[in-house]
Every structure is written in structure tokens, then in C-alpha cells.
């Protein structure tokens, strides 16, 4: 018997969403994934506002966060999460196209848990996302109060 946590994917590009879900689907993790299409939606989800007002109370086990997002960008989302006592424990993994040093620096300074550059190669991408999902949603013990589902 194993259990796994809910994954919040914050990604604006529908194609990346599809590829990410495909990758997570390989471990049958996809049906516990919530997708937010921009930074504002991600914060709405975390604060249970608007269309997420009725979502279950538990926090996601991990947030896969793109950096370049409409409205509120990834770094701003991360900053908000880390400055809120109720959210600051949630593991956050940046999943981005950016190789830039300043992005890595800024993210880690804000208290990021992991930084993953989306590989161009499809197999590498699938593997990276799969491993990420596996590690954070299954292997890693999330902070108490995270959403978990017993398989």
C-alpha cells in the first residue's frame, strides 16, 4: 500500500500542460494533478478563492511552477508562498525553460526546493517530469496537512 500527494502544476502553455500530464500519466499520477494556467490562478487555488473556493482543504504535496507566467509570474508566486505562514512549507519545484543564472539565484534565494530545466528532448522531458512526480508525490514525505490519497 502506498499513498501519493496531489500535484499543483502551474503552467500557461497548454502544450506543456499536455506533455506534463502525459509524463505524469505514465506513473498514473495524472488524476491527482491540478492545473493552474497562470500565477493568479495558482494563488487562487492556494488561497481557495474564486473557482477553487470549494476545493478540499489540504495543501498540494508539491507545486511544479513555471517561471514565465501571465499576470503573476513564477517568482512572485514563490515569494507569496514563502512569505505566508500557512503556505511556506509546501515544496515548490521550478520547472522552466530558463537556463539563466539569475533565475536560479532568485528562485533559490526565495527558498525554492528544486530547479529543473525542461529538457528539449522529449524522452528526457518525460523522464524528468515522471521522476519529479514520483519523488515529490510518492517518495517524499510532504509536510503534515498535505493532500494524500491511499492507493
Amino acid at each position: 500500500m502506498s499513498e501519493f500527494g496531489r500535484i499543483l502544476v502551474v503552467e500557461d502553455d497548454p502544450r506543456d500542460v499536455e506533455l506534463t500530464l502525459t509524463a505524469l500519466g505514465e506513473y498514473k499520477l495524472a488524476n491527482e494533478v491540478v492545473v493552474a494556467r497562470d500565477g493568479k490562478e495558482a494563488l487562487d487555488y492556494l488561497y481557495r478563492r474564486e473557482q477553487f473556493a470549494l476545493r478540499p482543504e489540504e495543501s498540494p504535496a508539491v507545486i511544479l511552477l513555471d517561471l514565465k507566467l501571465p499576470k503573476v509570474n513564477g517568482l512572485e508566486v514563490l515569494q507569496q508562498i514563502r512569505s505566508d505562514d500557512r503556505l511556506k512549507m509546501i515544496p515548490v519545484v521550478v520547472l522552466t525553460s530558463s537556463h539563466e543564472e539569475r533565475d536560479k539565484l532568485a528562485s533559490y534565494k526565495l527558498g525554492l526546493n528544486a530547479y529543473v530545466v525542461k529538457p528539449v528532448d522529449f524522452h528526457e522531458f518525460i523522464n524528468a517530469v515522471k521522476e519529479l512526480g514520483m519523488f515529490w508525490a510518492v517518495i517524499n514525505q510532504p509536510p503534515p496537512g498535505s493532500a494524500k490519497k491511499v492507493l
Binding site: L19, S98, P119, F125
Partner: protein, 393 residues
């Protein structure tokens, strides 16, 4: 200054100068005659001498000479016995001579004095000119400085734009590529049974092209990052670095026999990570372009005697190149070989050149078709002997 100037009002025109001499002598003579009418005696000598001094002062040497001659004549004619004759009686000779002597002395003193004052005035004028020129130069310098500041600001803006451009490329250009690759692979997987051999080859080509473009973008970004990141300069032991890089490349080149010949290499000043990149590019090129040989021979050494710089060379026994195209060798995306002969994006040597230039060095290359190539780069030497890290074999 105004007072000084008015003191030196001079008669400039020669006609006026000579006229002034004549008029002065006439006026003085009339005055002396008038004074004599009232029984005052012996005023002619001082008055005429005074006139000579004045004329010399205001009108210069020519009019002064005329004035001396005229007043001597007037003196001899009117004031020395016998009167109304230029003849001078024996009794009056001393008096006449005293007049002539006084006239000449006053005139010459006055002339000397005038010359000195003139020189002073010229010196002052020159100083003033110089001062004006200097002020003008100062203004120009200030203007140039302002332009320079403006140019620096422009440059900073351009740099910033370039950076944000590279940043956008890094973020935005990669995403569609990833999708291209991803969906092509998905298509390959889903339609494996439906696609005939030809169609599968098409999909495969799309995939390979997209991957290649991904590599190009990555290389280009890495290349642009060289110019943007700050360098951290330390003393770098090239001997150790070359050994490390050679070992790494040797490990990657499986199935290829490589004989490394590493000579004595100096300690240079530079950014270790960037210098490593230079060596990785040059050494992997040497191995790559010797791939057709049974045994790839790569020689690394240094040439001394370039002042404060060391020149390092990397020589191989590979396919070489045509010296006619040597200028193109270090250009971005320039390749001298077809893609199916040797793979690569054509950015390696451009990267090498850029890094070496950033270190204040130069690059050059020599080659012969089918006889190998040699690449040289120079780097600033470490000034003090640096203790080398000894690697235990």
C-alpha cells in the same frame, strides 16, 4: 586693466606719429617764445627735452628721431647765440652739446622703456589668448565628456536590451522546440502502425532538425553568456587543467585511439571556467577532426617569448583545413566541413576566440588539408611564480 590700457594709448599711424612730432616741437617753441616774452629764462632746454620724451613715448622711434633733429635745429636757430642762425658760437657750444646729449639720452631711455612696456603688453596679451584657448579647450573637454557619458548610457541600454533579448530567446524559443520534439515523438508512438517507412523517416527528420535547432540555441546562448557574465580572474595552472580536460575528452571518445602529448604548460591569469571551455573546445575539436585516423595524435604545448603573454598550441593530425578559409574559422556558425562529415554547430572556435579576447589574448590557426591543424592562443602570464597543485599519480 582699463587704466593700464589707457596709459598705453599709442599713436599707431606713422603719418600721425610724425605729425605729432612736428606739432609738439612747434607748440613747445611757441610756448618757450611766449614765456621768454615775460622775461622767464632758460625754459627752452627742459621744455624741448620734455617734448622729445613725450613723442618717443607716444609715437615711437621714427618720430622721436625727427623730434630730436627738429628740436636741435630749433634750439640752434632760436636759443643759441647768435640767434636766427644755425651757427653756434664757441661760448654756447657746451650749452648746445648739453641739449643734444639730454635730448638723445631722454629719447633713448624713453625708447627702451617703451620697448619693455611693449613686451610686457605682448606677454600679457599672449597670456590672455592662452587663457581663452584653455577655456575653450575646457569647454570642449566638458562637451566631449558629456557625449561620452551619453554614449556610455546608450551602450548600457543596448547591453540591457541584448541581455533581455538573450533571456527571451532562452525562455521563449525553447518552448516551441520542445513541443515540436514532444509531439513528433508522440506521433511516432501513436501512429507507428499507420505510418509507412517514408512517413516515419519524415517524422524522424523533423525530430532531428528540432533537436539540432535546440543545440544551436543552447550554443548561441552559451556564447552570448560569455560576453555577459563577469569573469573571476585567478592564477590557473594550465598543466593541470589540460590534463583534466584531456582525460575527460578521452573518456568520452570511446572507440577512438588517442595519443596525448602534453608538454610543459605555464600558469596563466584567467577565469578558470572560461579557460576550461577554451580547452574543451580545442581538444574536442582536435579529437573530432582526427576521427578518420587510426591513431589520433594530439599535442599540446606552449611557446614562450611573447613578452608578458604565453602562447599555447593544440596540434592534431586530423583532416586539417584549407588556409584560404582561415579567416572564416573563428566566425559564429562558420563551418569548413559538411554536416555529414563532422557534426557540430560551428560555434566552438567562435567561443574560443571570444574568451581569449576577453582575456586580452589572441587566437590564430595553421592548417594543411589532410595534414592536421594547429590552434594557438595567448594568455597573460601569472606575474609571480605560483605554487602548483601537485597531482598524485
Amino acid at each position: 586693466m582699463a587704466y593700464w590700457d589707457s596709459e598705453f594709448q599709442r599713436v599707431r599711424s606713422p603719418i600721425l606719429g610724425y605729425g605729432f612730432a612736428v606739432v609738439s616741437v612747434v607748440v613747445a617753441t611757441v610756448a618757450v617764445l611766449a614765456i621768454q616774452e615775460y622775461q622767464f629764462r632758460d625754459v627752452e632746454l627742459p621744455l624741448l627735452v620734455l617734448v622729445i620724451g613725450m613723442v618717443t613715448w607716444y609715437a615711437g622711434n621714427g618720430p622721436a628721431l625727427l623730434c630730436v633733429l627738429l628740436s636741435t635745429a630749433v634750439f640752434g636757430y632760436l636759443f643759441v647765440e647768435p640767434i636766427y642762425s644755425f651757427y653756434v658760437s664757441a661760448r654756447e657750444v657746451p650749452y648746445f652739446l648739453i641739449f643734444v646729449l639730454s635730448a638723445v639720452i631722454v629719447a633713448s631711455f624713453s625708447a627702451v622703456r617703451r620697448r619693455i612696456e611693449d613686451n610686457l603688453r605682448h606677454a600679457r596679451d599672449r597670456l590672455q589668448d592662452e587663457l581663452e584657448q584653455r577655456q575653450q579647450r575646457d569647454t570642449e573637454i566638458r562637451k566631449l565628456n558629456q557625449e561620452l557619458t551619453a554614449r556610455a548610457a546608450e551602450l548600457a541600454t543596448a547591453n540591457k536590451e541584448l541581455e533581455s533579448f538573450a533571456y527571451s530567446v532562452s525562455h521563449d524559443l525553447r518552448a516551441p522546440l520542445r513541443h515540436l520534439v514532444g509531439y513528433s515523438e508522440l506521433l511516432q508512438k501513436h501512429a507507428a502502425n499507420l505510418l509507412d517507412e517514408k512517413s516515419q523517416r519524415y517524422v524522424q527528420t523533423i525530430l532531428e532538425s528540432a533537436k539540432r535547432m535546440g543545440n544551436l540555441i543552447d550554443d548561441l546562448l552559451a556564447f552570448s553568456r560569455i560576453g555577459r557574465t563577469e569573469t573571476r580572474t585567478t592564477a590557473v595552472d594550465l598543466q593541470q587543467l589540460v590534463a583534466d580536460v584531456a582525460a575527460e575528452i578521452g573518456a568520452q571518445a570511446k572507440g577512438q585511439d588517442i595519443s596525448w602529448n602534453i608538454g610543459a604548460l605555464p600558469v596563466c591569469y584567467g577565469d578558470r571556467a572560461l579557460l576550461r571551455l577554451v580547452l574543451v573546445n580545442l581538444l574536442s575539436n582536435a579529437v573530432k577532426f582526427s576521427g578518420t585516423r587510426d591513431l589520433a595524435k594530439v599535442e599540446i604545448g606552449s611557446v614562450d617569448g611573447h613578452g608578458d603573454k604565453s602562447e599555447i598550441f593544440v596540434r592534431d593530425n586530423g583532416v586539417g583545413f584549407d588556409m584560404r578559409y582561415v579567416d572564416k574559422l573563428f566566425g559564429v556558425f562558420q563551418r569548413l566541413h559538411r554536416a555529414d562529415e563532422f557534426e557540430g554547430t560551428g560555434i566552438g572556435l567562435a567561443t574560443v576566440q571570444r574568451i581569449v579576447h576577453r582575456h586580452g589574448g589572441t587566437v590564430r590557426a595553421e592548417g594543411t588539408i589532410d595534414r592536421g591543424a594547429t590552434f594557438y592562443f595567448s594568455l597573460p602570464k601569472a606575474k609571480q611564480p605560483v605554487e602548483r597543485t601537485v597531482s598524485v599519480p
